[in-house]
């Protein structure tokens, strides 16, 4: 808006105005691009992406997250006008893709901005639209690639700070190591652990940890999409608990309904430990790395000591 107001003015006047505005304490970044003193406005569609933007951008970004309420199901989220305003002002956006947050693309298309950089995690990873499981952040390969893309785009927006962003990237990559090591340790100590889940949120991590998810994909997809599962699948899932065929039950705290609750009851009744998994980063107290590490540790505790971690 300020840019449009200023468009007719001479360059000198713009500079003068910007100076005046800056002196008033307002960063003029949205009007005239990023200044070395300015702060980059960034948005993460899900708070785990926002968290990583914040870790790379440090004090030179102001980052907000669209989805961060641990009680909502992002699959059925509807965007509000305030979200649209945030997105149209943003210079860097990170979104998941794979149909998980389609509303982001819709809003971006409605407020075009050639200078805005959009990182679509699906595209960054080169995944096809037909990828069945959209919960990419549980995949150990995802965040290093995303963090790299964030570093590249932030450096493009503010070249003077590029060394700072690169240093943060190196720190971030280093800080992922404990999580990756925990996954490797789990895989070595408990190979082919049979597990059950409500829906596929943590499937990428379960795969990396070498577990065998006994819950049929159709049931996971039905619960994720909020449609009625087939009775055959419900019976099969019930038998996983009553027959003690699985060592741990991964329960998505954000995608729950009457059927997931009855699975939860049955799992507890049969002494199957439960581990809570999430669509968005549980806050406060976690960043992306510590959240992921906590999930693997909870998984290991469940399998080794039969201890439930229903909520992180």
């Amino acid at each position: 808006m300020p840019f449009q107001l200023l468009r007719g003015c001479g360059r000198a006047k713009v500079v003068a105005l910007c100076l005046a505005v800056t002196m008033l304490g307002c960063a003029c970044s949205s009007a005239s691009g990023v200044q070395s003193s300015g702060v980059i406005a960034a948005v993460g569609a899900e708070n785990e992406y926002a968290n990583v933007i914040g870790q790379i951008g440090g004090r030179y970004v102001e980052v907000t997250a669209v989805l961060s309420n641990p009680n909502t199901d992002p699959h059925s989220f509807e965007a509000s006008p305030s979200v649209a305003a945030e997105l149209s002002a943003a210079q860097l956006i990170v979104q998941n893709g794979v149909g998980y947050d389609t509303f982001m693309s819709t809003i971006e298309a409605a407020s075009p901005n050639p200078k805005r950089k959009v990182i679509d995690v699906q595209k960054t990873l080169g995944l096809p639209d037909s990828t069945p499981n959209p919960h990419l952040w549980y995949n150990p390969d995802t965040m290093p690639a995303v963090a790299k893309a964030i570093t590249r785009d932030l450096s493009g927006l503010d070249p003077a700070r590029a060394p700072y962003f690169r240093a943060n990237l190196a720190n971030f990559d280093r800080s992922l190591k404990p999580w990756l090591q925990a996954i490797a340790r789990f895989k070595a100590a408990h190979p082919h652990t049979p597990v059950a889940s409500t829906e596929p949120v943590a499937d990428y991590m379960l795969e990396a940890a070498g577990t065998d998810n006994a819950t049929p994909w159709a049931l996971q997809a039905d619960i994720m999409n909020g449609v009625d599962p087939a009775p055959e699948d419900i019976t099969l899932q019930d038998s996983l608990f009553t027959g003690h065929k699985v060592k741990v039950f991964l329960y998505n705290e954000q995608v729950a309904d009457s059927i997931t609750q009855s699975f939860l009851e049955l799992a507890k009744k049969n002494g199957i430990p439960v581990v809570g998994v999430y669509e968005t980063m549980p806050t406060p107290g976690y960043d992306y790395q510590t959240w992921m590490l906590a999930e693997v540790r909870a998984l290991a505790r469940a399998v080794a000591n039969k201890v439930s971690t229903e909520q992180l």
Binding site: S76, I223, A230, P231, T235
Partner: protein, 322 residues
């Protein structure tokens, strides 16, 4: 013996009778379809199909509200259907011409609130799939502990129409005659709306709010095509309702083995499709019967005689045939 076994295995795919969700669905679905069919005969005869449909839609408000606060959706459906029935009655259900308008206005307001509840539910709380569950039902995810509740509510609705059997039929024929004979027409109407509200909210949970009309009206309409005697029509409606629901559950179970493999089709689809088929067949049969009767020169049954004097009252021709 083995061929019979093979055929039976083809009809009932493995695990049908031992599956927990199927057993609950057969019991609950059976009770609900029975009640809906019986109550539905009166709904059709009294010309209150629109009110019946609206009660289901109003149940949506309650169902979505229940999701929002984390209660069992059945209680939401029942509460709001009863409130809706009361509101319809209050806003002019007495005058037949004002009835549809009052129903429509209450319906619109209810659906608006449902839209708000669903928005809040999906953006502020944890309610995956609430919209689809409310609109299209979830017969396979009903908890076995809810069976007594379903049985109790079914019994309540059946008791009301059983006790009011004659006054209900009489006031359907003519409100004036009924009043003249000392029938408290308004009280009967209110109690009937209550029974309909309970029946509709039960079918909202099993088959879905927007499809509940089908199980309310469908079996009753087909039965009234076959006979005009109310007792027989009720019996036929009950049989049809029970048959389509159980067959629908069986087909939904078997459809797990149809393409796309491992993704059973919804029960609601099968039940509603079967109702349409049964209605079309009943309609065809009744036309054929009328045509043959006409060809043989038998007096047309358009004007049944002696309605008042017979122990088994016949339904008014217009309501029964149309």
């Amino acid at each position: 013996m083995t061929t019979v076994g093979a055929i039976l295995n083809g009809i009932f795919e493995p695990g049908f009778f031992t599956s927990g969700p199927v057993r609950v669905a057969l019991v609950v679905g059976g009770a609900v379809s029975l009640v809906s069919a019986v109550v539905g005969v009166f709904t059709v005869v009294r010309g209150q199909s629109f009110a019946g449909h609206s009660l289901g839609d109003l149940g949506t408000t309650g169902g979505s509200g229940a999701f929002l606060v984390g209660a069992n959706p059945l209680w939401g459906f029942v509460t709001f259907a009863i409130i809706g029935a009361g509101a319809m009655e209050l806003f002019g259900a007495r005058r037949p011409r004002g009835r549809d308008m009052a129903t429509g206005i209450v319906l619109g307001a209810g659906l608006g609130i449902a839209a708000l509840f669903l928005y809040l539910g999906t953006t502020e709380s944890n309610t995956t799939g609430a919209t689809i569950t409310i609109l299209f039902g979830s017969i396979f995810v009903i908890h076995a502990s809810m069976i007594p509740v379903f049985a109790l509510l079914s019994g309540l609705a059946l008791a009301i129409v059983g006790l009011l059997y004659r006054p209900l039929l009489l006031s359907a024929v003519s409100q004036d005659i009924a009043s003249a004979r000392g029938v408290p027409v308004r009280a009967v109407g209110i109690l009937y709306l209550l029974a309909m509200a309970v029946a509709v909210s039960l079918s909202c949970v099993t088959i879905g709010a927007i499809l509940s009309t089908a199980v309310l009206i469908g079996p009753a309409a087909a039965a009234l095509r076959m006979t005009k005697r109310p007792g027989l029509a009720i019996a036929w409606a009950a049989v049809i309702g029970l048959a389509v629901t159980w067959l629908g559950i069986l087909l939904a179970y078997d459809s797990y083995y149809w393409p796309p493999a491992g993704r059973g089709w919804p029960v609601s689809f099968f039940v509603v499709a079967l109702i349409l088929v049964v209605y079309l067949l009943a309609d065809l049969a009744s036309r054929e019967k009328a045509r043959r009767a006409g060809a043989q020169g038998v007096a047309s049954r358009k004007f049944p005689t002696g309605t008042a004097g017979r122990t088994q009252p016949s339904l008014p021709p217009v309501l029964g045939a149309e």
